[in-house]
């Protein structure tokens, strides 16, 4: 049973409240990065050492996972839990793919001697992408639980959960939409 406040399920409003607390969290870090980068020299040289190709692949992966989870939401609304499970499973795999590529990127950078202590750019780089990766991991865990619930039929009692998980996942995607140009294109 879903508890409603007027036309809106409480869960959805609660998810938006949670996301509204995440906006200043990432916003403060991104603003600090922008301000320091514009006010200092040498950051572009540091960012040239990042692995652009991996970041581009990860951008495609995360944007595609946003599409798969919205498909899962649409399938759940239609009561088609077989399709919901399929799209949730794809979202989990894409999320794991993102983290695997990120780990590959980190290992290359660390192998070249670029550590969080290598300079303020690298501190920001590892801090921002690490915080984002933790959010991706949290999303994967939630999506995995929903995928299991879709397979065993328990999701039919709580179809709105796919929408709430989707809202969170899209937010994580939007954060990456800004991290990618800030770190790899600017």
């Amino acid at each position: 049973m879903t508890i409603h406040s007027g036309a809106e399920p409480y869960g959805k409003t609660g998810t938006w409240w949670f996301l509204s607390s995440e906006i200043p969290t990432f916003g403060a870090v991104l603003v600090a990065y922008i301000v320091l980068r514009l006010g200092s020299a040498g950051w572009a040289e540091s960012s040239a050492h990042l692995n652009f190709n991996i970041a581009l692949i990860n951008t495609f992966i995360l944007l595609t996972s946003s599409m798969t989870i919205v498909m899962a939401h649409a399938a759940a609304q239609d009561g088609d839990y077989g399709k919901t499970a399929k799209f949730l499973g794809l979202t989990v795999l894409l999320g794991l793919g993102f983290l695997a590529m990120k780990a590959l990127e980190y290992s290359g950078e660390i192998a070249h001697g670029f550590l969080p202590s290598s300079g303020i750019f690298w501190s920001f780089y590892y801090g921002m992408t690490g915080l984002h990766a933790l959010h991706v991991l949290a999303g994967i865990i939630v999506n995995l639980i929903l995928w299991i619930q879709a397979l065993n039929g328990r999701l039919a009692n709580h179809p709105h959960r796919v929408e709430y998980a989707g809202l969170y996942w899209h937010f994580v995607d939007i954060v990456w939409i800004f991290l990618f140009p800030l770190l790899y294109l600017a």
Binding site: S20, P24, V31, V35, G39, M67, M71, D78, I177, F178
Partner: protein
């Protein structure tokens, strides 16, 4: 899931992919300032597409917009509040 929904979400995905390619092309072909303006404009458009169509903000009530936009406004105020600091006291190379 209706085919109309699927097609709609796929169309948004195609747009997102095309915009990523546009950003990358801009970074490698345009002069720095023009590239930056285009790249961050495209990032805002991509975020708008995800929020409006994938997060269904298009169909949400005013309260949801308020919950999402008030903290975003504080972040923007924070950014522009700090602008004078790096415009007038920036370290030059």
């Amino acid at each position: 899931m209706s085919n109309a929904h699927s097609r709609h979400y796929l169309a948004i995905w195609y747009w997102l992919m095309a915009l990523v390619i546009l950003s990358v092309a801009a970074a490698s072909t345009l002069p720095k300032l023009q590239a930056m303006v285009l790249i961050f404009s495209v990032a805002i458009v991509k975020a708008f597409l995800v929020a409006r169509y994938y997060m269904h903000l298009k169909h949400e009530r005013v309260i949801i917009y308020a919950i999402a936009l008030v903290p975003l406004a504080f972040v923007v105020i924070f950014l522009f509040g700090l602008f004078p600091d790096f415009v007038f006291h920036a370290t030059k190379p």
